[in-house]
Subunit: 139 residues, 2 copies
DNA sequence: TAAAAATTGAAACATATCTTTCATCCATCC
DNA sequence: GGATGGATGAAAGATATGTTTCAATTTTTA
């Protein structure tokens, strides 16, 4: 289901060698346990001109909880930011953003991310190619 | 659909203020055009003990196409590696891997990634928290 | 402005879908 | 070893689903 989210329980049952009813019970249990979460439809980034992946490392001026929380809420408001992680080490945050071109990224960085009060420095790195991208966790 | 991949066309129609038939036609067109790709089910990483995100930067010994291609195929074989990008700048690749704990990552790195002939160096960075994670591209 | 082309919505259609029920099977525990 | 609890599969049931058709409307083209 991680690879084919729209598979029917009947097909799934055949694939795993169980009954449809058994699949239904297991899926329901996993949903209730919060293991299986939402179903999403993936979009081809190149097809909608968002094929450029940029990674942005951010260092904060202050590490106090309020500033961090404010920055995290702030970063959530940017649709171009698909991923953001609070990091150990020299950089406080690592962001993955998708844009159509470098100009678009410049705008996101200069008029967006860097305008936040708590941000001290940033360092951007551009992906030349997405070698692998999957949402499926191991087993 | 990027946020709710299992929405029915009837619900979608109501949401966007169009008919179900119209939705069906548009979806079919986007699928045929390769814009809408597969539907996937997301899994709660913490629930299956894969809640630790690690970023690994890799530098290659050689930059020749054969070595790169071989490494990229190699990296595809690791289920823990969810994302891998060929990068500009000082590092050749950036990898995001999910593991249960640091021990598990040590094994992936030492017995996996670093065993590849073309790899020169690597640098790993651990995420303390996933602040934002979405698969939905902007608009 | 008039003709042509494309898009739309409503309804009908056929089908696939999830969900429940029930009897059976298996494993476990006292 | 018998009884209890849990899991299983097959079938039935009700419903929601995708897909097509057709007439009407809108947009484009000449």
């Amino acid at each position: 289901m991680q690879e084919q989210g729209d598979i029917s329980q009947a097909q799934l049952a055949e694939k795993v060698g169980a009954s449809a009813a058994s699949c239904w019970r297991r899926i329901t249990k996993l949903e209730d346990a919060g293991v299986l979460t939402k179903t999403v439809r993936l979009v081809n980034a190149d097809a909608i001109d968002k094929g450029l992946n940029v990674f942005c490392q951010v260092r904060m001026k202050s590490h106090d909880p309020a500033a961090r929380h404010d920055f995290e809420t702030f970063i959530h408001s940017y649709a171009e930011v698909l991923e953001c992680y609070s990091m150990s080490g020299e950089w406080d945050y690592l962001i993955r953003a998708v844009v159509g071109d470098v100009r678009e990224y410049e705008a996101l960085l200069m008029e967006g991310i860097l305008t936040h009060d708590a941000v001290l420095t940033s360092s951007s790195h551009f992906a030349l190619k997405a070698v692998k991208y999957t949402t499926a966790l191991p087993v």
